[in-house]
């Protein structure tokens, strides 16, 4: 068949999880080609976390859902405790909101920096070219590009420093047989066009970011005891102020929230801000200047969704009530929808318009889409047995992925950093919104003579735009960390946990909701958990997650409308069809998290979620 996929990437590496990409590139006769039709994006692993949750104690759900993903570790936990708190009508103390904001914020900063350097950079940085770099010239470039930055060792990045980086890289490269992690990349591909010195500079930051990352996640350890998978609790936070904050020895008893712990947090925040300002931001701008053509590739349909995140703790005053409006009015990232790339209008988000369908996912169930709170799910693998022989291929007319297709008002939506920046830009009411507008102008739309890259606003919807927006939101959050920390520190002696929480779980008559919903904006985008607690047993009756990477990485729907990853491949021009670097660049620009996207399973064919009509009638809303 003329259009049989000739671009196949399996496994897609430098992502979380297990992903396969298929596409057809129309050959140009010179080894290259152009992708003119949407690709096929298949998630190839499933565990069944939601099914496992049924019948369990709702207080435990956060720990299970956290393990949906060790990269997104905090956000699934927070979403879960929010869902249960919503279901039973518990408000958390202000300290808990501040701490959750800081923990989610630290995850964003940590995650986005690591994505850029450790998961995405090697799509733009040629390691073999870096080995040819002149250390002295690289030091001059560093002084110009990253003024003020000192290595983790305290060393200035001078010629000797870069010679040391080269030594390490060549030592790792060795005699060529032990390239380790850097082995067999698309090195020498014509689409790489940084200079040798630029390549070495970014690789030095790849190494520096490892040391940096270890320090910034200490914030999670202070509040949550460990990272990954820090501890949370329904009703607030389990951590609490030490009775003896001045005495930091463990022998003195107390808790991690003592003066030593606060010093760790302040230091982590300062390190976040310094690294973002001195390294991440200028490196992204350097990349944008060298690869501006990538603002012309990787666009999705232009519809964006954001649930809202980082509630302003001082504004939380809404009582739990039915329907929309259960959540705080003031979010750093607004709750809303952008249609057709409209830069000025933020439409209202209506939770009832979220649906999932399984037309091309390995489940039985509705091909046309139902609300997550009334969906049914049943595993139905119809793909190849994959015993190791040849001829493995997935077909777009069939079911081909473990990810369901979420839709909003029937449309595929892009979620994540691009959606966050566009919704803040469109809202324009908060001081941080004005900062976003200023940065977009300064660094993106301004001409090169004024320090920008001279690209159109609409071109933010692109491979490069996603990278730029991810950096921009990291900058906004890193700066906001100080505000949250100060707000928290001022009130640190106050409560951390709502003591009514566990008792309330035994009093179903007092619950305002039977279906609780928790929304967060994860680093990769809109994340929602729906929980139904059985009033009789107090156990989880049903649990359902609709996850960020599911929105972006989902397969076609019943109308054969492709998901955002699949759509973003259209128009890609490949220099070498056998080495599809351009496809990796675009897929990686979404920061795939496939463990998150796939989490549903029920081999017994029982409905995962059964919201009885009486529940819906009582709560007045299916949400």
């Amino acid at each position: 068949m003329a259009t049989a996929p000739n671009v196949i990437i399996d496994p897609v590496t430098r992502i979380e999880g297990h992903l396969r990409i298929q596409a057809f590139a129309e050959p140009d006769g010179r080894g290259g080609g152009v992708i003119r039709r949407p690709g096929l994006c298949a998630a190839t692993m499933v565990r069944g976390v939601e099914r496992i949750l049924r019948g369990r104690d709702p207080r435990d759900a956060w720990a299970f859902t956290q393990r949906i993903c060790g990269v997104c570790t905090v956000v699934h936990g927070v979403t879960s405790v929010r869902a249960v708190e919503h279901a039973i009508g518990i408000k958390v103390p202000r300290n808990a909101d501040y701490i959750r904001n800081m923990m989610i914020g630290a995850q964003y900063v940590h995650d986005h920096v690591m994505h850029f350097y450790h998961l995405h950079a090697l799509d733009w940085v040629d390691v073999t070219s870096a080995l040819q770099a002149n250390p002295a010239a690289t030091a001059r470039l560093a002084k110009d590009n990253n003024p003020g930055f000192k290595a983790d060792s305290g060393a200035l990045p001078n010629a000797a420093y870069f010679q040391g980086v080269l030594n390490r890289l060549t030592s790792a490269a060795g005699d060529g047989t032990q390239l380790g992690l850097f082995g067999n990349g698309y090195w020498g591909h014509p689409a790489y066009h940084l200079t040798a010195e630029e390549n070495l500079l970014l690789l030095s930051h790849y190494i520096e970011a490892l040391a940096w990352a270890r320090d910034v996640v200490k914030l999670h350890a202070v509040f949550g005891g460990k990272d990954p998978h820090p501890n949370l609790v329904v009703g607030g936070m389990p951590c609490t102020l030490s009775s003896n904050p001045g005495r930091v020895s463990e022998d003195a008893g107390g808790t991690s929230l003592n003066n030593a712990g606060f010093a760790v947090i302040r230091s982590a925040i300062a390190r976040m801000q310094a690294f973002v300002d001195q390294v991440y931001l200028p490196d992204v701008l350097l990349l944008a200047k060298r690869y501006p053509e990538w603002a012309g590739y990787g666009a999705t349909a232009g519809n964006f969704l954001c649930y809202g995140e980082f509630p302003e703790p001082t504004l939380v005053k809404t009582e739990f009530a039915d329907g929309a409006g259960d959540y705080p009015a003031g979010y750093l990232f607004p709750r809303g929808v952008i249609w057709a790339g409209n830069r000025d209008r933020l439409a209202t988000f209506d939770p009832a318009l979220v649906t999932e369908n399984v037309a091309h996912a390995w489940y039985r169930g509705s091909a046309t889409g139902v609300h997550p709170s009334v969906g049914t799910t049943e595993l139905n693998y119809t793909g190849p047995a994959a015993e190791g022989g040849s001829g493995y291929m997935l077909q777009e007319r069939d079911k081909y992925s473990w990810i369901k297709s979420p839709r909003y008002n029937g449309q595929p939506m892009e979620v994540g950093p691009l959606a966050h920046i566009l919704t803040m830009h469109a809202r324009g009411t908060l001081p941080t919104d004005a900062v976003v507008r200023g940065y977009v102008r300064k660094y993106w739309t301004n001409p090169a003579s004024a320090g920008g890259v001279g690209l159109a606003f609409a071109q933010l919807n692109s491979t490069l735009g996603r990278i730029f927006c991810r950096m921009l939101e990291t900058k906004i959050i890193a700066d906001q960390m100080t505000v949250w920390y100060q707000g928290y520190y001022k009130g640190r002696a106050g409560p951390y946990w709502n003591p009514k929480t566990f008792a309330r779980l035994r009093e179903p008559a007092s619950w305002p909701k039977v279906v609780g919903v928790g929304f967060t904006e994860a680093p990769r985008g809109a994340l929602g958990h729906w929980v139904t607690i059985d009033p009789g047993s107090g156990k989880i009756e049903n649990y359902q997650c609709v996850v960020a990477s599911q929105w972006n990485a989902g397969p076609r729907d019943a109308g054969a409308i492709e998901g955002p990853y699949e759509r973003a491949l259209v128009g890609l021009t490949l220099a070498d069809v056998a080495r599809p670097l351009e496809v990796l660049r675009t897929i990686h620009s979404f920061d795939p998290c496939i463990g998150c996207a796939v989490h549903i399973a029920d081999p017994d064919g029982q409905p995962l979620v059964q919201v009885e009509v009486r529940h819906a009638a009582r709560s007045g809303s299916l949400v």
Binding site: T13, G48, D152, V217, P228, P238, G254, G595
Partner: protein, 380 residues
């Protein structure tokens, strides 16, 4: 020993003896890698101390960590969440001026690790084939594996989990199961195990493959434990293991034994509620469901994230994540749950040689109270 002391600069008069002799090759290699000898020895000495090894073993650890020919490690991921890798990457005890990255680049040759490797698709699969065609590599696994390959619950590189595992396991010299999912089945295996997930050990038995296996459980494992086990193996071979194939040097004692809140375990005062006065003062969390007494791990001894904290220090009980089937542990009153107490009228040990099969049946001995019986007042 807490990692805080391990990661700070060596003090005179500590066990970090400046006279530790390194052989010339190791010393040259450190120089070549730009690693401070002093800090490196401090790291090795600390590691030896954590593993309860004599300081005479420090040079051997140092030599293993800097060997010119790096042992090949193939790291394969199955039904996992990437938390184990995050843990390994995000934390490392040695703060010698960023030079630990030298170790990451130089300790082993990580020839396949799909979350970090440059190569993708066919080129990644070529890497895997060429690495597994050479014998003598260490195979590191995270995630459980669906025992029935053809049901499609795990496929990567066009091969199902069983096929992919078998091909990599056959020529490995050692298999390390990193994390609780690989060690014991973990979250995917939690009731009702929707995908038929099994541990690495169970799959080896199913396939009739006999290999050395070390389980390094934890959700995720403490990074210093994982890297310590690798380093120990390179220097000294297989460490002593308990009945669950866990290295006793790290899993020989309960979390409880190293926890400072343990002081009030027997006689109180216990924290009765999150955020109460006793929780703030460091009282035992046993009534809030802490599973520390029956959980074998070095969390409280080593600390997390370079000794910054550990779960109980930050106010939450241990959830028991290094034990088999901890997601389904049955507590007091026959109830599952992380906030259901074990009971507090029992001794603080759980016989380590009691396999997972027996575990469920013995839980009844953990007291007869119930979490709701807050009135059984004996601690205030």
């Amino acid at each position: 020993m807490n990692l805080r002391s391990l990661t700070s600069a060596p003090r005179s008069g500590t066990q970090l003896d400046q006279d530790v002799m390194l052989d010339d090759a190791t010393a040259d290699r450190l120089l070549e890698l730009g690693i401070s000898r002093r800090r490196f020895l401090s790291y090795c000495a600390g590691l030896a101390s954590l593993m309860a090894l004599p300081q005479s073993m420090v040079p051997g650890l140092a030599a293993a960590a800097t060997a010119r020919t790096r042992p090949s490690v193939v790291y394969l991921s199955f039904q996992e969440c990437t938390g184990c890798l995050e843990s390994m990457v995000n934390s490392f005890p040695f703060q010698g001026g960023g030079t630990i990255e030298n170790l990451i680049l130089n300790l082993v040759s990580l020839d396949f690790q799909q979350t970090l490797m440059a190569a993708s698709g066919d080129q990644a699969e070529q890497q895997l084939r060429s690495a597994t065609n050479r014998s003598g590599y260490v195979l590191l696994i995270d995630g459980s594996i669906p025992a029935q390959g053809n049901r499609g619950y795990f496929v990567s590189g066009e091969k199902n989990g069983v096929v992919r595992f078998r091909e990599a396991a056959e020529s490995a010299r050692l298999i390390i199961a990193a994390g609780t999912c690989a060690s014991f089945g973990g979250l995917p295996k939690a009731d009702p195990n929707p995908t038929g997930a099994v541990s690495v050990g169970a799959l080896l038995r199913q396939l009739g493959i006999k290999k050395d296996l070390i389980n390094v459980p934890g959700c995720p494992p403490i990074p210093e434990v994982l890297t310590g086990v690798i380093l120990y193996y390179l220097a000294r071979g297989k460490p002593a293991l308990d009945a669950l194939n866990r290295p006793t040097m790290f899993y020989g004692r309960s979390v409880h034994e190293g926890c400072y809140r343990e002081e009030s375990f027997e006689d109180g005062p216990h924290a009765r509620s999150f955020d109460d006065a006793h929780a703030r003062a460091g009282g035992c969390l046993i009534k809030l469901g802490c599973k520390g007494p029956v959980t074998h791990s070095a969390c409280a001894r080593i600390g997390w994230n370079q000794g910054t904290s550990f779960p109980m220090m930050s106010g939450h009980g241990c959830i028991g994540c290094t034990e088999p089937d901890f997601w389904d542990r049955v507590n007091t009153g026959g109830t599952k749950g992380f906030y259901v107490p074990l009971g507090h009228n029992s001794s603080a040990t759980d016989p380590i040689n009691e396999g997972p099969e027996q575990r469920g049946r013995t839980e009844g001995t953990w007291g007869h109270g119930h979490e709701d019986d807050d009135e059984d007042d004996d601690d205030d």
